[in-house]
């Protein structure tokens, strides 16, 4: 039991993100409304973003901005002093793209609503088979 507890404490970030991710996945699978599915997708994306950012963290390290980097810089830079910038870069662009794709998805939802007067999936299926 204590071993399991130590394991969870050492990796609690992954546990939290997996729970968050599963909430998003459940919303995408089980919800009937297209808008709710989109919200689920956004929760899922947020969990992935948090997961990546947490990978970049190092104990005892500071922000990835070189101290005294303005102008001439002679001191040796130790990689252990700065957190990993690569996941931050990837997620910075991922956040913007997730917002953009969310916008396109909402535009599609508006179009679907204008044509079929509903966003519920089962009703949509009935309307589609009518025509």
């Amino acid at each position: 039991m204590n071993e399991l507890l130590a394991l969870i404490v050492a990796k609690y970030n992954f546990w939290l993100y997996i729970i968050l991710m599963m909430i998003g996945l459940y919303a995408m699978i089980a919800k009937n409304n297209l808008m709710k599915k989109l919200v689920g997708m956004n929760i899922f994306q947020t969990a992935i973003i948090l997961f990546y950012v947490s990978i970049g963290y190092k104990h005892g390290a500071t922000l990835p901005i070189i101290q005294g980097g303005h102008g001439t810089h002679d001191a040796v830079i130790h990689a252990a002093d700065y957190i990993n910038p690569l996941p931050h870069v990837l997620m910075l662009t991922a956040i913007v793209v997730s917002v953009a794709t969310f916008g396109v998805a909402m535009a599609l939802c508006v179009k679907i609503y204008q044509r079929y007067q509903t966003l519920e999936e089962d009703e949509l299926r009935i309307r589609l088979s009518e025509k």
């Binding site: 990796k11 609690y12 990689a79 913007v96």
Partner: protein, 274 residues
């Protein structure tokens, strides 16, 4: 379906939790993600690019292609929203409001129209009176939000900041204006043409800087080649190139955020939304 979904989610979650046993501990400096490539970035970035902000340096220099196409994706998303939703049909009914009394006039014939002046103003079916407290607070706040956005863009290469963040802050200040006043007030100041030109200009600045480097005899997006064009301090040319790229990204992101918002809230009619 709900029960089946729950079973699938629990199975996937359990498998992922089991898989996370092999992942490195939280904040472990010796984890595989932090030991190979990122160490090279951290230790060599200042001598290679003269930019102290590592995130910007990796974003705009080492991974310049990635960010360029990222900007193109954002531009395409704005374009997709416009093409899906924009409605060019003229409104059939016209609504006018008498400002002193609040009486509404409804013209069913699209040919008759009034010239809105001090007495009457043109309005829409879904019009909601705007609250004076919200309007005043937003009127005071918006210029400061915009100055902060420009500050964030300008600090892209030396301290926390960058084009994506600054562009989003600037775009959200314009969206705040649309929410607190109404959509027409925003579109009177920032027209649709202006937004479209800005969205394209941002991408053009990014690609143009890359092409300029090719013309100057270097590789695509090799900002160091721009040195003869900049009359001062050749050591900082890479930083200046990155700043230019960040400005392009900021302009594109700002314009696309507003395009997406305006088209979605008004279903493409551009009259009145939320």
């Amino acid at each position: 379906m709900k029960f089946l979904g729950l079973v699938i989610v629990c199975l996937t979650g359990g498998l992922l939790l089991y898989g996370s046993m092999d992942l490195p501990d939280w904040g472990d400096p010796a984890s595989p993600a932090s030991t190979h490539l990122s160490d090279y970035y951290i230790e060599h970035i200042v001598e290679e690019t003269q930019v102290p902000n590592l995130v910007t340096a990796v974003l705009a220099d080492y991974r310049g292609y990635d960010t360029m196409f990222e900007t193109a994706v954002v531009f395409c998303a704005g374009l997709a929203c416009f093409l899906l939703l924009r409605d060019f049909r003229p409104g059939k009914n016209r609504y006018y409001r008498h400002i002193p009394t609040g009486v509404m006039l409804h013209f069913k014939n699209p040919d008759t129209r009034m010239i809105p002046g001090n007495e009457f103003e043109h309005m829409d079916r879904d019009w909601v009176p705007s609250d004076i407290i919200i309007k005043t607070v937003c009127r005071i706040l918006i210029p400061f939000i915009q100055i902060y956005a420009l500050y964030v863009v300008a600090h892209g290469d030396f301290s926390p900041g960058g084009g994506f963040q600054g562009g989003v802050i600037f775009g959200s200040s314009l969206i705040l204006m649309a929410i607190s006043y109404n959509l027409k007030t925003l579109l009177k100041r920032v027209t649709e043409k202006f937004l479209s030109i800005f969205a394209a200009t941002g991408v053009l600045i990014y690609v143009g800087l890359g092409v300029l480097a090719v013309i100057m005899g270097g590789q695509f997006l090799d900002y160091g080649m721009l040195a003869p064009l900049v009359p001062w301090d050749p050591g900082h040319v890479r930083a200046l190139g990155m700043l230019g790229v960040e400005i392009g990204v900021g302009i594109a992101v700002m314009a696309v955020m507003v395009i997406i918002y305006v088209n979605i809230v008004s279903e493409g009619r551009h009259d009145e939304g939320l």
